[in-house]
């Protein structure tokens, strides 16, 4: 299928090695335009490397990727012109004022003077930074810098923004604010947002689609609901009468039981993949524990994520390829 205009990103078997380390391993991905896409994965999974490849900052060792219909190897400069980025580091000039930081990048993107001033004012005001615009950024708090870096990434109204852990260092209010801003950006301006995060809760709320990567391999991709549906939380809450600490310890030692904890009469059991709760209930009854209620806990994205991670670990760590 040719790369239609509806695709913002299309990667085909992208592999990237750093010496012996395989940071990306045959990564294939298709991301439609105008959505917020969340890239999830543990440390060292290859998220940052993927962004670098997509921006044409480094070339893939094998495979091929297109961003906004442009080849990352050949048209890196055109891609960067149309994209905005907040990379691993905020990348702010700490000796310059917040205003001058944005002014510099505004000039770099050749935004005419009047528009530039207006846009900088709009963004700094939106992030609550306008009053402090003349401060050297070095004197700002980490979260304030992070907000400024996000403002810089969207300054020139790019068609696609890459945000590498945009909410790291932000307080809950700021995180919620940024989430709203990003959602609005995607909905109103048709901007595609590609973000990486370790915050699954945030990904679940914000992203239309998420991809889970580990050891450079894409493990799953889909909407948060789809991923949740795949993941069986494996957790059950059991309301009991007469459970004792000793029985809980015994229970935790049973096959198929990952963890078991009790607080009062509430017993929380986490089962291994696909295991049924029936034998547990039978075991409890057999040990003269009253079972009043058994309730399966609905899977969250976090469960689905941990499930995927767990599956990978049991399938052998060697597959990862990271050090």
């Amino acid at each position: 299928m040719p790369n239609g205009p509806e695709l913002a990103i299309r990667a085909e078997h992208v592999t990237r090695d750093f010496g012996p380390v395989r940071a990306l391993d045959a990564l294939s991905l298709e991301i439609p335009k105008g959505i917020v896409f969340g890239f999830l994965g543990p440390n060292g999974a290859g998220k940052t490397t993927a962004i670098r490849v997509l921006l044409g900052l480094i070339d893939p060792s094998a495979g091929h990727a297109e961003v906004l219909g442009l080849d990352t190897r050949r048209d890196g400069s055109a891609i960067r012109t149309r994209c905005g980025a907040l990379l691993e580091h905020p990348g702010l000039y700490e000796r310059l004022s917040a205003y001058d930081n944005l002014d510099f990048y505004g000039r770099a993107w050749r935004i005419p003077r009047g528009d530039r001033q207006e846009r900088i004012r709009e963004l700094l005001t939106r992030f609550g930074l306008w009053e402090r615009r003349e401060d050297p950024v070095g004197r700002w708090s980490r979260g304030m810098k992070q907000k400024l870096a996000v403002a810089r990434a969207v300054l020139h109204r790019p068609a696609l923004v890459f945000l590498d852990e945009p909410t790291s260092g932000l307080d809950p209010v700021a995180t919620a604010g940024l989430r709203e801003d990003l959602a609005a950006l995607a909905a109103q301006e048709g901007v595609t947002v590609f973000l990486t995060t370790h915050n699954l809760n945030e990904a679940e709320r914000l992203c239309a689609q998420v991809g889970v990567i580990r050891g450079g391999k894409l493990l799953a991709v889909g909407s948060p609901e789809q991923l949740r549906a795949r993941g069986d939380s494996g957790r059950v809450d059991i309301l009991t009468t007469g459970i004792t600490e000793e029985l809980v310890r015994h229970l935790a030692g049973l096959p198929d039981v990952r963890t078991a904890t009790a607080s009062g009469d509430h017993l929380a059991v986490s089962l291994s993949n696909g295991a049924s709760v029936a034998p547990i209930v039978a075991w409890l009854v057999q040990h003269e524990v009253g079972v009043e209620e058994v309730r399966k806990v609905r899977a969250t994205l976090e469960d689905a994520f941990l499930d995927l991670m767990g599956a990978e670990t049991t399938n052998g760590e060697a597959a990862g390829g990271t050090t």
Partner: protein
């Protein structure tokens, strides 16, 4: 392209200003030192200060030293402070970024040397100008300026290589210290290592060639050298070749 280069120059100057005026980083003390030298030396030397041949080397040296510290800050520093990757992820081209950095440093260094020279000229005239204006011979002046620009360009080019190898500004500046010593002392030591006969023959030969010609050779040599070094720096300074950690 010109617009982009100018954008980079503008940004670098904002940063240099801060670096120079910052007491903590020793910038201001260097400034004061240079100004004192620019006043004390001419006042003490008098007319000799504009006539001496040795002094021709002073401004190029001053400018090149300044450029070395600025380039280290702007290339190695940008990397150390983790701003380089973001800059490379912008729409600016590699060459616009590098040329902008070189021009910013060279203009700053040369500007500083020229200001120093102007202050010296005023000082020498205030102190010793009772018998009319003391001025440089026009040719000497032109040659000094051209030397200053070329030495700065050469130093900037070398600085890019040094800075790309160094992981911190400090490392880059240490390497620069060595480079400056090698560049200034090297030819002298080499010359001294020659036999007495060769040296006298060489000096006699130089005498026959004449001052203007020698200056022209030096200018041509510096020009070619800095062109090669800067072309090399441009080839080296490419996104894909800069590893980020």
């Amino acid at each position: 392209m010109i617009h982009d280069i100018w954008t980079v120059v503008w940004k670098e100057w904002q940063e240099f200003r801060d670096q120079l005026l910052s007491l903590r980083r020793g910038g201001l003390s260097a400034l004061i030192l240079a100004l004192i030298l620019g006043v004390v030396a001419p006042v003490q030397l008098g007319a000799e200060w504009v006539e001496s041949r040795l002094i021709i080397g002073y401004w190029p040296f001053l400018a090149a030293t300044m450029v070395s510290s600025l380039i280290a800050d702007s290339v190695a520093g940008e990397r150390e402070r983790h701003t380089l990757e973001t800059l490379l992820a912008s729409r600016l081209s590699d060459s616009a970024i590098l040329i902008g950095k070189i021009i910013a440093a060279v203009m700053y260094g040369v500007g500083f040397a020229v200001a120093n020279l102007a202050i010296g000229l005023i000082a020498v005239n205030v102190a010793h100008g009772e018998n009319g204006l003391i001025l440089f011979a026009p040719q000497r002046f032109m040659v000094t300026i051209v030397f200053t620009i070329l030495a700065s360009l050469l130093m900037a080019g070398i600085g890019v290589f040094i800075s790309l190898r160094a992981s911190t500004v400090k490392q880059a500046q240490q390497a620069f210290g060595i480079a400056i010593i090698v560049l200034t002392m090297g030819p002298l030591l080499l010359f001294n290592a020659l036999s007495y006969e060769t040296r006298t023959a060489f000096i006699a030969r130089l005498g026959r060639v004449g001052e203007t010609r020698i200056e022209a050779y030096v200018v041509a040599g510096l020009f070619v050298l800095s062109a090669i070094v800067i072309a090399g720096a441009l080839a080296r300074f490419k996104r894909g070749k800069l590893v980020f950690d």
